[in-house]
């Protein structure tokens, strides 16, 4: 099994996934594992941004 960080870095490069999401998932991966709170915080920000200026 490759180092998980390497796997996610390759996933970013692969172009297989929606860029902003895979980049953020990669950002949340460290030696400590996957930081769920950090990802959910980013997700909430994206959701808020999505409503725009209506």
């Amino acid at each position: 099994m490759r180092n998980p960080i390497v796997w996610f870095e390759e996933a970013v490069k692969s172009g297989k996934y929606k860029k902003d999401v895979i980049v953020e998932i990669r950002e949340c991966i460290s030696e400590e594992g996957f930081n769920v709170d950090k990802f959910i915080y980013w997700l909430s920000e994206q959701i808020e941004k999505s409503i725009g200026d209506d």
Binding site: M1, P4, W7, A11, F34, V36, L43, Q46, I47
Partner: protein
């Protein structure tokens, strides 16, 4: 001889059962690094050494943690600061020497000297196995086995990430559900006004235009015009003082409808206070309730253990029925009655807590609105009462949340809450509602004003709910879009991990089967063991086996405890071999404990066939098995823990095999002890020989075989296969007929013997002479009988010795 070692020396001081002087296990023998076997009875301190290894490597001792013993249990009771340490010297120069010292100021962080991180790079899989680890593992659930094995194969981080990604899915789903709920409420709010659900912008505009038409406000064509039209409508409201007032009173009416009806908690508080004071009067009685819990748990433990005559707490025997005894104790203390009262009070507490919480929520909703507006005297008083009651209510709520036992007995709920104010609040309901109604009614007498305010409120609500609905749709759409990618990434990552885990499982599976076959070669009904990995939704590891010709998976329900342990031991050996391939060192602590005597030599077979290039530190309390081990591995260092002392720890000396032990007893003129040692040894050897040679031993219902029966069967078989005039047959016949031996056979188990040290010495020597003819000098195994192609053979397993 190859210097195969990894470890030069282990030194332990002030740790668990080892105190001072430090216990040293030196692996040097004649300038080479060797394996070490240590004999010691239970409680002689063997396991402290494995614990010390685990602590140095990981900073923890798992089995102690499971039993609730933390780091404070690691130092020896007499060890002072700085006197608890473990030091291991490695042959690997990059690692060198590693020392862990107990840090009394940070007990979870031992002071480490040396390159521990390098050691962790090399040792991926635990290199030690205790009997308890083995039994714990085999009885774990299949999913736990998967997790343990995967982690031990170095997939810990990957599995953590899998689990974290999975928990991320749950969090996203929760987020989605919350947004969905909010959207539903916005739909309801819209429906209440428009009598239809929100659909799209044109239908929203259409609904608005109906209202705007009534108020002669120009039609809306684009969504961007809505706000302007709404402002226009607001202007209509604001320019007329009475319309403005009506708008205000209608808002107040809506807010007040959220406050009332309000629950009358006064009588509940009074009743609770009365019962609470009564209950708290006798602290001594209440403290007895702790016993009630203990008694109930005790009864539960006895029933599940099905041991009715021994206390599960102190392990002392009890004459009579322990359950009845505990029940009597319970009745005697009137605990049941007291507990019933407590339960009733607890119920009241919870109900009261819920009621107060409901009132606080209403206050939270109403108060901020009343703060910002100019009020009539009646509402000013209402606002003041809400303000004055708020903190006492909060205080009561916090106190009630503590539970009956923890509520301060001096706390008085009745004096805390001003009952007059509560009463006023309740009594004011009708008056306030009437007052508001009168005001609203009066202002609504003007039909056009009424219509204006109704329309204004409708449009405001429509706009707010439609906007909310629209925003939530966008949010949900965005969340779903992110979720799709997230799920893809998560699934691909899990798939990749599963593949890697499967590859590792495949790598060890072959060896697991090979070792299991050796351990269970006498079980004719078991065949072809495999470890099966289930990596679908519920990841699991199971043992599959051919049992009586059928594939059985999971095999656990068909296997005995000993067979399960064979499986566990096989996995340990295979994993240690595959995953620690740069570190050929293993520690085995009494792992043969659950194996039947006949199966124990098979562990030696595995060690000699597959682990001859490994350095092993082995502990056992089976002296006969140790004898066998010494025969197979004469080069190993032998040690013996001959006792344990509180201030010192294990007392260690050079280990002796059975013959050396017998010789020592003879020199000390202890014929009884020498006879005991020789009798046990000879019984074991003869049993093995009779089995190897397929000798017929006279049957008895007790299933016990005495020396004379065994030697007779052995002699008869040898005579039959080697003929009467074969030198070995003659030697055995002489040995069997020797009067000294016959006397020994009759009396060796008695505490007082009628033979002397020289006599026992002669018998032992005679047997040694026979043994030297039937044991191979190369493979150190006894002869066996086999029939191949109608030819009969008596030879050792390696074929060097053939008779």
């Amino acid at each position: 001889m190859i210097d195969m070692g990894e470890i030069q020396k282990i030194t332990i001081a002030g740790f668990r059962g080892i105190n001072t002087p430090p216990l040293e296990i030196d692996f040097h023998k004649e300038k080479l690094i060797q394996s070490v076997m240590i004999y010691g009875t239970n409680g002689s301190g063997k396991s402290s050494i494995v614990d010390a290894w685990e602590w140095l490597y990981s900073g923890k001792i798992e089995h102690l943690a499971r039993e609730g013993a933390g780091e404070r249990a690691f130092p020896h009771k007499e060890a002072k600061d700085g006197q608890t340490w473990v030091e291991i010297e490695f042959t690997n120069k990059e690692i060198g020497k590693i020392r862990a010292e107990f840090n009394s100021s940070r007990i979870t962080m031992p002071k480490i000297e040396g390159n521990l991180s390098k050691l962790k790079e090399i040792i991926l899989y635990p290199c030690y196995l205790r009997y308890r680890d083995l039994t714990d593992f085999v009885y774990k659930r299949k999913a736990e086995k998967y997790e343990i094995l995967s982690r031990q194969m170095g997939f810990g981080n990957a599995i953590d990430i899998q689990n974290q990604l999975q928990s991320g899915v749950k969090r996203i789903e929760e987020e989605l559900n919350n947004l969905g709920r909010d959207r539903d409420s916005s739909i309801k709010e819209y429906y209440d006004v428009a009598d239809e659900e929100p659909k799209d912008i044109p239908s929203f505009i259409n609904t608005l235009n109906i209202v705007f038409k009534r108020q002669t406000i120009p039609y809306v064509k684009e969504i961007t015009e809505v706000q302007k039209r709404l402002e226009k409508l607001r202007e209509y409201v604001e320019k007329d003082e009475k319309s403005k007032k009506l708008q205000l009173w209608k808002d107040i009416q809506r807010i007040i409808s959220q406050l009332y009806p309000m629950e009358d908690i006064h009588s509940n508080i009074s009743k609770f206070q009365e019962k609470f004071t009564e209950f708290k009067q006798d602290e001594e009685e209440i403290s007895k309730l702790i016993l009630l819990e203990l008694y109930e748990k005790g009864i539960g433990a006895i029933e599940s253990l099905k041991i009715y005559n021994r206390c599960p707490l102190c392990d002392q025997p009890y004459e009579g029925n322990l359950i009845e005894h505990i029940k009597t104790k319970k009745d005697h203390l009137h605990l049941n009655e007291l507990n019933k009262r407590r339960e009733e009070l607890e119920k009241r507490r919870k109900e009261l807590s819920l009621s107060i919480d409901g009132i606080i929520r209403k206050f939270d909703y109403v108060s901020p609105y009343l703060e910002g507006i100019e009020l009539e005297p009646l509402l000013i008083q209402l606002k003041e009462n809400l303000k004055n009651l708020y903190l006492p209510l909060k205080e009561c709520k916090n106190m009630l949340e503590k539970g009956i036992e923890n509520i301060d007995k001096k706390f008085n709920f009745l004096t805390k809450l001003d009952t007059k104010k509560i009463k006023f609040l309740l009594d004011s309901e009708i008056k306030i509602k009437e007052e508001i109604s009168v005001r609203v009614g009066r202002l609504e007498k003007d039909e056009s004003r009424k219509a204006l305010i109704d329309d204004f409120q409708q449009v405001t609500k429509l706009q707010a709910s439609f906007l909310k609905w629209k925003r939530l749709n966008k949010k949900i759409e965005k969340l779903k879009e992110i979720m799709v990618t997230y799920e893809e990434v998560k699934n691909d990552y899990i798939e990749e991990t599963k593949k890697s885990v499967q590859i590792s499982f495949d790598a060890i599976s072959y060896d697991v089967a090979a070792y299991f076959k050796i351990l269970e070669q006498d079980s004719k009904v078991l065949d072809d063991p495999k470890i099966k990995l289930y990596s679908e939704k519920d990841k699991a590891v199971e043992l599959e086996i051919i049992f009586g010709g059928n594939v059985i998976s999971p095999a656990y329900k068909y296997l005995s405890e000993s067979q399960l342990n064979s499986f566990g031991l096989s996995i340990f050996f295979a994993s240690a071999k595959h995953f620690n391939h740069n570190f050929k060192f293993i520690i085995l602590d009494d792992v043969i404990n659950s194996f039947d005597t006949y199966k124990r030599p098979k562990v030696i077979d595995i060690l000699s066939k597959y682990f001859s290039d490994y350095q092993i530190l082995l502990f056992t309390h089976d002296s006969i098995w140790l004898d066998r081990l010494q025969r197979s591995f004469p080069q190993w260092i032998r040690k013996r823990f001959f006792g344990w002392d509180y201030n010192i720890g294990p007392r260690i000396e050079t280990g002796k095999n059975s013959y050396e032990q017998i010789d020592e007893f003879i020199i000390q003129d202890k014929p009884t002890e020498a006879g005991w040692a020789f009798g046990r040894y000879l019984e074991w050897v003869l049993q093995e020989l009779c089995e190897n040679l397929e000798a017929s031993v006279r049957y008895n219902r007790r299933n016990e075989f005495t020396l004379s029966e065994l030697v007779q069967a052995f002699r008869a078989r040898i005579k039959k296969k080697l003929e009467s005039d074969h030198p070995i047959t003659k030697m055995i016949s002489v040995f069997e007929s020797n009067i000294g031996f016959r006397n020994f056979c009759d009396h060796w188990k008695e505490s007082e013997t009628n033979y002397s040290s020289p006599e026992i010495k002669n018998i032992v020597q005679e047997w040694k002479n026979i043994e030297s003819k039937i044991e191979c000098n190369k493979c150190h195994k006894f002869i066996r009988y086999e029939k191949m192609d109608s030819h009969e053979h008596i030879f050792c397993p390696c074929g060097e010795l053939t008779l």
